[in-house]
Amino acid sequence: MMFWDPRVEEMPKEELQKLQYKLLKTLVYRLYSFSPFYHERMKESGVHPDDIQTLADIRKLPFMYKRDLRDNYPDKIFVAGQEDLVRYHVSSGTTGKPTVVGYTRNDLDNWTTSLARGLVSCGLGRGDVLQVSYGYGLFTGGLGLHYGAERVGATVLPTSVGNTERQIELMQDLHTTAIACTPSYLLHMGEVAEKMGVSIRDDTDLRRGILGAEPWSDAMKARIEDWLGIKAYDIYGTSELYGPMFCECAEQNGFHVWGDLAYIEILDPVTGESLGPGEKGELVVTMLQKEALPMIRYRIGDITSYEDGVCACGRTHPRVMRISGRVDDMLIIRGINVFPSQIEYALMTIPQVGQHFQIVVDRKGALDDMLVRVEVARESFSDKITDLMAIRKNVEHKLRNTLNVAVNVELVEPGSLPRFEGKAKRVIDRRQL
């Protein structure tokens, strides 16, 4: 089975845009009439639903931010009443107070459909065993993937996060063919497996990884694929959208954003100016069919680019490239924008250091000082101090070239940097501004 929903997935572009316009128009009228929050916002911006005459008129609508959800904690901007909700999820609040999201039955159905299309597009279906190693519970990852995979007929192994050794045993015993987790957790799993004397490549049936919930790079993908002998597909979403909902197809060239469910824009994060295909900027999403907690022009804060051409797989929906950073993860070092993902990318090209790293930013006098701590790979440890100094120099040189800012590198013992089972937290900023 190549398509879950071929009529929608292969819909001609003009037809898709007409559908999007219709859905947007309906959404805006509905919210103007029934949501005090959106009504107020639209009035403040001087925009009336009648002003939306084309799809591009979406730019007239005001933005929505994470802080709007926090300010209206827990459910003040929900449009559905509690009796129409069938589930809550709560975000972990890594960047502040937690946020609550709610779902009507239609919301859950659209979420599951979105994932069903995505999972089928990367080849998953009946006969597969999907190990869901995302957290179950308040986090959307576990339950989202769980129902998506069940919908397409795969067998779900709901391991959730943690107890890695047991996960590896179950992976072998129940012949897991695909795993859904964060890319850094999969790397951690690979390391734990090796310590147990298990090669994921040779001793398991794992063929696919559905990886997301944190930024990762092409180089990290290549490392995962080469080392573990699997195909790595990017999956994207946040609880404000529904949860993880868009997944790369077999082409592995960006995840399809289903146009009947979401409309995307890429904006310059500073000026708010709209950017075209291939240009890197901030992803802004409008959810076209969300009922309980509508999202218009939601600024998630993720940095990426999009492609609008018809995909080689035949799907007409736009593709968004792997997230390369967060607007709020962006470090400004001596006036230069630095994304941790750039550092990750540079390190991946240096085999003498491991894939784990930590960034420590401090201020020495008036100047920002950035230290990157990397682990010396076992195979490249030499007794010679000069060899080690050369490794360090090489890393410093590569980072400087990538970031355009001088970086100090510290070599640390293998296994000494923190491993992350959920979202990786690799930056320690000690600057007192």
Binding site: F381, D383, K384, I385, E410, L411, V412, E413
Partner: protein, 144 residues
């Protein structure tokens, strides 16, 4: 000439430069009842390399690697020195005369007298030259 018996397996351990790392290494060796015969620490900015001659190098390697340490074997040789003023000079002059470059070195005085541990580019060649000049090298079985 058979040079193998003079080539000694030194263990080298990568260590971060912070309190407690040497203690962790020494504790691990204690737990395996491994005796340290000679050792030194080379330090660079932020990290160091601990080098040691031990009586059970293979066991030490396995134990430390199991604990997550980055460990390597390095070939060194041990030259006997006269234990009186000028002892080091005799050996150093001899090495200079035959153009043997020392990468690094450390010394101890034990029951065999003064001993100079040397890390050189080509251990086999160094063994040949040093013995042909009449100096005494300690065999690896003295340590291991």
């Amino acid at each position: 000439m058979e040079t193998d018996r003079y080539v000694i397996k030194q263990i080298s351990i990568f260590s971060e430069n912070r309190p407690g790392r040497l203690a962790a290494i020494a504790k691990a060796l204690t737990e395996e009842n491994i005796n340290i015969l000679a050792f030194s620490i080379a330090e660079a900015d932020g990290f160091g390399v601990v080098r040691a001659l031990v009586d059970k190098p293979k066991l030490a390697y396995e134990k430390l690697t199991g604990l997550g340490f980055n460990v390597a074997f390095t070939d060194v040789i041990a030259v006997k020195m006269r234990e009186s003023p000028g002892g080091l000079y005799e050996i150093a002059k001899m090495l200079a005369n035959v153009q043997i470059n020392i990468e690094y070195s450390y010394a101890y005085t034990g029951k065999e007298g003064g001993v100079l541990i040397l890390r050189v580019d080509d251990a086999d060649q160094a063994v040949r030259l040093i013995t042909s000049l009449g100096a005494t090298l300690l065999e690896s079985r003295v340590f291991q």
